[in-house]
């Protein structure tokens, strides 16, 4: 199960099924989907010489080119395509849709193709965004597809987009999964039902013949683990997303003063960049070492390139030159990124912030936490958003505690100059994912037994103070893989066939030869991706593969911006 390969397979088909000079037309959503999984040189090598948007009305007429379209079957794209077919600008048209096309749309296209230029129409289900082979998302952003309608319920647009995206992922992997959802989440249930309906409706597409492996789709809800997206991250990929922000594989560094033009916008991709692939899970300290090694190899290579004494040396240089130049570009890129990260870490005192965050997330020490939190709020060297995050974490952990200081801390925040709207987020998060909304004991402070477990864990000691937090998903998955049926909070979708026996997830020995797709309504995080990668490596011998997805990939900023007060109003 590799989301990246699944998407690349389609892209490869799209550009290599037809030979000859081609132009590729994309729409607003397929452009990022394609750019995440392929490169320009790949497209060029497949004779795709021009790439343009279908909405672009003033493209030149080039009859000698073939036109390959990869579009989402959305209203706007279909209309743009109809316009194109009415006055075709290119020779032959090969049209691929990224999702299931409605019958009426096919009819509309057929009626408008009077010049008979369309040679092929196919559905290729690459309708999801691939971040890493283990992580995909549907690309719901608050501006385009707001997630919530009112409280814990789907916005219809977001729901249909999610169903399409998740359905496309299942199709691209050729899976027909058992669907499970978290019992307390209406949104997860709704999504599960819609997926189930889609599968039964398109039953000839979702055939199980091709794969012999059992697949489970676990639909989780972000509200059961609001802590993970609030923490400062310390592994390379996650840090980049957390501190700078990655949108569709691009990192925008143009805000950095006097940055050189070629690194203003940086593309990172695990597929193209072996250094990044090696170091994406490294924590910041190891990253420093690894980048030093990287620069050292680069230097030794430069050195050998300078010893040009004969024609054969020169030849060798010329032969190695493109690789060398690639390497030098890569070195520049990563040195810039790591430099910027360390600047941010120092400027925002993220080490201190993270220490407090981890303590709030993992350990029950009320008086200590409160003391350091108060000190932090009154200290002006910390960023307001970091203060806010810590207060939210505090409010979540000590929500049930008698005499907690949440309201006092909110006052402190306001008096220290944090915007009142932002301070209101404390209550919004509590309403979204307070203890009444959650079902699992993420802080392990609800009963005596879990408290004891917590203390025991504390005795074991921690390897790294900044990365001691383990996301709830990881613990849940670990339980499943080990064969501990930690599924009491999960429910299978009601099966219409009463005689069918519920399929077991694993047995007491653990889970073997099965695949799990975890989908988080409300967004996945990089920390969870790392946890999944670790689990995959750890349980490799069980032949279990886990794939993680979400409606989006969150950092703390995007997580909080999705939960705006309009969806979770104050109920007095």
């Amino acid at each position: 199960m590799d989301a990246l390969k699944a998407a690349q397979y389609y892209i490869n088909r799209i550009v290599s099924d037809t030979s000859g000079m081609k132009v590729l037309l994309l729409d607003r959503e397929t452009t990022p989907i394609i750019s995440l999984v392929s490169t320009q040189s790949f497209l060029l090598s497949k004779e795709t010489y021009l790439v343009d948007r279908i909405e672009n009305g003033n493209r030149d007429v080039m009859r000698h080119l073939k036109c390959v379209c990869f579009l989402r079957p959305s209203e706007s794209s279909i209309h743009a395509l109809l316009d194109e077919l009415r006055s075709p600008k290119y020779g032959d048209y090969y049209i691929y849709f990224s999702n299931i096309l409605k019958k009426s749309m096919i009819e509309m296209l057929a009626e408008n193709d009077e010049s008979e230029v369309v040679r092929e129409i196919q559905e290729f289900y690459a309708d999801f965004y691939v971040v890493t082979p283990l992580l995909f998302h549907i690309g719901l952003s608050p501006s385009v597809y707001p997630l919530f309608a009112e409280g814990h319920s789907w916005n219809p647009g977001a729901l249909s987009r999610t169903v399409q995206g998740l359905g496309a992922l299942l199709l691209s992997l050729k899976r027909r999964p058992n669907i499970r959802y978290e019992r307390n989440s209406a949104m997860a249930l709704k999504l599960g039902q819609e997926i189930e309906y889609l599968i039964s409706h398109e039953s000839n597409l979702f055939s199980t013949k091709s794969t012999d492996k059992k697949t489970h789709l676990l639909i989780l809800d972000r509200k059961n683990d609001p802590v993970t997206p609030l923490l400062t991250q310390w592994t390379y990929h996650a840090m980049l997303h957390d501190a700078i922000g990655i949108t569709n594989g691009r990192i925008d560094l143009s805000y950095v003063p006097d940055i050189r033009p070629e690194v203003k916008e940086i593309m990172i991709s695990q597929d193209q960049d072996s250094f990044f692939k090696q170091s994406q899970y490294l924590n910041f300290g190891d990253l420093g070492l690894s980048i030093k090694e990287f620069v050292d190899t680069y230097q030794s290579k430069t050195k050998s390139h300078h010893q040009i004494e004969s024609i054969s040396d020169m030849k060798r240089f010329v032969e190695a030159y493109p690789e060398f130049r690639k390497l030098s570009g890569n070195v520049t890129k990563h040195v810039t990124l790591v430099g910027e990260l360390s600047r941010i870490v120092n400027a925002n005192h993220l080490l201190k912030v993270s220490e407090l965050e981890q303590s709030l997330a993992c350990n029950e020490q009320h008086s200590n936490d409160l003391k350091s939190l108060k000190a932090m709020i009154s200290d002006s060297k910390f960023q307001p958003e970091n203060k806010l995050r810590c207060v939210i974490l505090y409010a979540l952990r000590y929500e049930r505690m008698q005499g907690n200081a949440t309201s006092e801390l909110k006052q402190l925040l306001i008096s220290s100059g944090v915007d009142a709207d932002h301070v209101a987020m404390v209550d919004v998060v509590l309403r979204y994912a307070g203890i009444g909304e959650r079902q699992s004991d993420i802080f392990q402070n609800e009963n005596l037994f879990s408290r004891g477990r917590n203390i025991f864990k504390g005795l074991q000691g921690v390897e790294n103070v900044y990365t001691q937090h383990n996301p709830a998903v990881a613990e849940m998955l670990e339980d499943i893989l080990r064969g501990r049926q930690g599924l009491h909070w999960q429910e299978r979708l009601p099966n219409l066939d009463l005689n069918a026996r519920p399929p077991l997830i694993g047995n007491e020995n653990g889970m073997f030869n099965q695949d799990i797709i975890v989908f988080i309504v409300g967004g996945a995080t990089m920390e969870e991706e790392l946890a999944v990668a670790k689990l995959n490596a750890k349980h490799e011998s069980q032949n279990v593969n886990i794939l993680l997805g979400g409606t989006s990939v969150h950092n703390s900023r995007s997580f909080l911006s999705e939960l705006s007060a309009t969806f979770f109003p104050l109920t007095s």
Partner: protein, 798 residues
């Protein structure tokens, strides 16, 4: 934890006396900013360091190690053979590509003129001729082969006599026998371990189920039996972590420390539990020794080998679409034809009016002509109304498209001449269509004379679409003219390259692996030459495309993209193109390759090509008397590559694409002309390096003088110059003797390079001074002095 990247170590201490390298890496030990600057400072172009004593002494030992007798024997024996290869080579260099590119794929099948075997393409036929017939003759009769090839050149296939045919047939059998033997060599190099050749080692493997691809602890694999290289292995050191990014556990005796045989990384034993067959160079293959590999390599090979493993669902909607379209299109066709008919009638009506008007207006007054026209108009109107029934004016109060009410003057009623509806004049609602009128002899319509008729929006669309369809049905309309022709040739050449390249790589690998594979060498050389010529061709074609006139920005982008693709393609396939060893250096190379594997030049992940390239350094034409046949194409290709870089660099530095390409064009044309010069009659002029000619031209000048040298007269001018320079410099005896040992052409070559280098260093100095990088400038200055010394040494020697 979170430390900023640790400081970088200061530059390594220099071993050589002339340290230019330290100069190139100025103080990169402070912080990352410095590193960045260093990265920038180390520009694309290298600076030659004059040879140090170490290298020169190494060269001495090398030349001593080959015993003179062997050397003599080898060269004398190989000389005629190689000569014949040259003549045939130059011939073939042009012929296959010339033919394949000029001839369109026609229906006639191609038969071999000698044995009658059918060949699918001309390229394949050429290959067949080279491989079976020509290889045989060459290897068959050493003395006669040259005469034969000469005869072949002179008379061609028409003069083939019985002897020739017989020799060819014999040669065919010999070639086939060799090919079979060669296959055997490969098979024995990597024996399938299921075969019971080595029962002790392979028994556990043999008993393993075929689907089982996990490695069992304690098994010995290909690397343990020295069948697979270990050169790329990561050396274990304390603190090493598992190479799988997700695991990265600290490696210890407990976790196990294993090198993945394929990628060489250190792994914990849990993640290095897969089994894969590898070649001697640790590349995955179907046959080969079973080895222990990490899960990543295993996954990769699965993904690469069985492409169908990952394939998502898809649904083809084309049939239903075509079915639906058929209805819509037939309706549209009907409508289109009806409109067409009406158009025809209108054109005839207008045409008759036009032809009647001029004849009458010649002798009549202006007033009468106006009358004529108005009369004609009313006549036309009547005919127009006969074509289609006009809608009644009073029935329509507003335009059916824009819904604006009609008035008397500003918004008058118009009739669409094709459907009769009343529409307004606004360009969105109706337009004037120009229709071609019938020719004078009423045989057809021509666009020379046109009439404008009003048509409503709907009818205009139908007419336009009808015309569009007509334009599409004309055979040549969909092709892009010259662009398509050139582009097709590019694709064809690429296809040929892709056909020939695997064969060449196999041959090259075989030559390298086995010590006595001389029979493969000429064939490999030939293929190599064809490939080089094909690459050259590709380059030229793509440059012609990028120089084509671009009517629109999109087509300019198209041309640039094609050019870029070809450049990419060349970089991908031409760089790794293996240098072939010279026969006489063969053995020596075998000895040295072992020593080299541990050196830092050995690549970490050896692809067969890369190691081959590394191995061929020893054999580059610099250190030995080169044969013109092999050196000419290779240096031409080098020149192309460099030219590519030049153009790319200039693109990067901001100048426009086209200028870069033009500059590129010039360089390559220079290459071509020089290659032509290097052909049958080498011209004896054009001695030194062209001033300011850049890398490429200096290489060219290296090629040409060497050709010219054949009938070179040692001029006395050089002698006198030598005397002039000698007193000005203190001499280095070691270097001097080294230079003195070199042959004439080597000296010329070095001279050209050094001059070019000097030019470059001068450029660097001025640049460094401009950017106030003074320490750089100082060290550059030092290297310039070194260069000057070296230059003068050589010049004195000439």
């Amino acid at each position: 934890m979170s430390t900023p990247p640790p400081p970088l170590p200061p530059p390594l201490p220099q071993t050589g006396s002339l340290s230019l390298d330290t100069a190139q890496q100025p103080a990169c030990n402070k912080d990352t900013r410095h590193v960045r600057r260093a990265v920038r400072a180390i520009g694309p172009a290298p600076i030659t360091r004059p040879s140090t004593e170490t290298s020169s002494s190494a060269r001495h030992t090398r030349s001593q190690s080959t015993t003179p007798t062997e050397d003599h024997h080898g060269t004398q024996r190989m000389q005629p053979m190689r000569r014949s290869t040259v003549s045939a080579g130059t011939q073939q260099q042009q012929s296959p590509l010339f033919l394949s590119s000029s001839s369109s794929p026609s229906g006639t099948s191609l038969n071999c003129p000698i044995c009658g075997v059918m060949a699918p393409t001309l390229f394949a036929l050429n290959m067949h001729l080279d491989d079976t017939h020509f290889a045989g003759t060459e290897a068959g009769s050493k003395g006669a082969s040259r005469d034969q090839s000469v005869a072949r050149e002179r008379g061609g296939a028409a003069q083939d006599d019985l002897d020739d045919v017989k020799g060819a047939i014999l040669g065919f059998f010999r070639g086939a026998g060799k090919a079979v033997k060669g296959l055997g060599a490969i098979a024995s190099a990597g024996p399938p371990s299921t075969a019971s050749s080595d029962p002790g080692d392979d028994s556990p493997v043999a008993t393993a189920a075929p689907g089982d691809n996990r490695w069992r602890a304690g098994d010995r694999d290909g690397a343990d039996r020295d069948l697979v290289t270990r050169a790329h292995w990561q050396q274990p050191k304390p603190g090493a972590r598992c190479g799988l990014p997700a695991c990265s556990v600290l490696l210890s005796a407990q976790t196990g420390v294993v090198n993945c045989r394929s990628c060489g990384r250190l792994m914990c034993s849990q993640h290095c539990m897969h089994r894969m067959r590898l070649t001697a160079t640790a590349q995955p293959t179907m046959r080969g020794a079973a080895c222990r590999v990490c899960s990543e390599c295993h996954l990769r090979s699965i993904a690469a080998g069985t492409h169908g493993a990952v394939c998502g669902a898809s649904r083809d909607l084309t049939p239903s679409f075509v079915h639906l379209r058929r209805k819509a299109v037939s309706a549209a066709h009907l409508e289109g034809n009806r409109i067409e008919k009406r158009l025809e009638k209108l054109a005839l009506a207008h045409g008759s009016l036009y032809s009647s008007l001029p004849s009458q207006s010649t002798g009549s007054s202006a007033a009468s002509s106006v009358l004529q026209i108005s009369r004609g108009q009313s006549k036309i109107q009547a005919t127009e109304q006969m074509v289609v029934l006009w809608e009644d004016d009073n029935a329509v109060q507003s335009c059916p498209f824009c819904h604006k009410a009609f008035g008397l003057i500003s918004s008058r009623r118009h009739h669409c001449r094709l459907c009769g509806r009343v529409v307004c004049h606004r360009p969105k609602c109706s337009a004037l269509l120009s229709i071609p009128l019938p020719t004078a002899d009423n045989r057809g319509f021509s666009a020379d004379r046109c009439a404008d008729i009003r048509a409503c929006r709907d009818c205009e669309q139908i007419v336009l679409r009808q015309r569009d369809r007509a334009a599409r049905s004309i055979p040549g309309a969909m092709s892009g003219g010259e662009l398509s022709v050139l582009y097709n040739r590019i694709r064809e050449t690429m296809k040929n390259v892709e056909e020939a390249l695997p064969m060449f790589n196999t041959l090259a690998l075989r030559i390298r692996n086995s010590s006595s594979s001389a029979p493969d060498l000429p064939r490999a050389t030939r293929i190599r030459k064809q490939l080089t010529a094909a690459f050259n061709d590709l380059d030229k074609l793509s440059k012609r495309i990028s120089a084509l006139p671009a009517p629109s920005p999109a087509s300019a982008r198209l041309h640039a993209a094609i050019r870029q693709t070809v450049t990419q393609y060349l970089q991908l396939h031409m760089f790794p193109l293996t240098m072939l060893p010279k026969p006489e250096r063969k053995q020596q190379m075998g000895m040295q390759s072992n020593a080299r594997t541990n050196g830092d030049r050995a690549p970490r992940t050896p692809t067969p090509l890369r190691t081959q390239v590394a191995g061929s350094q020893e054999l580059a034409p610099f250190n030995e008397s080169p044969s013109p046949a092999t050196s000419v194409p290779s240096s031409v290709s080098t020149a192309i590559i460099i030219a590519n870089f030049d153009s790319e660099n200039s693109q990067r530095s901001g100048s426009s694409d086209t200028t870069a390409n033009f500059q590129h064009l010039n360089i390559i044309e220079a290459t071509d002309s020089s290659a032509a010069d290097a052909g049958p009659e080498p011209s004896a002029n054009n001695p030194g390096a062209k001033p300011n000619g850049g890398f490429a031209s200096s290489l060219l000048s290296y090629v040409i003088p060497r050709q010219a040298k054949k009938q070179e007269h040692r001029s006395t001018v050089d002698q006198s110059r030598e005397d002039l320079i000698r007193p000005t410099l203190e001499s280095d005896p070691g270097k001097e003797s080294r230079i003195a040992n070199m042959s004439m052409d080597e000296k010329l070559a070095i001279l050209a390079i050094l001059r070019d280098q000097r030019q470059r260093v001068l450029g660097y100095i001025s640049e460094a001074q401009r950017e106030r990088r003074l320490e750089d400038a100082i060290s550059l200055q030092a290297s310039l002095t070194d260069l000057d010394i070296e230059l003068s040494l050589i010049e004195r020697n000439l």
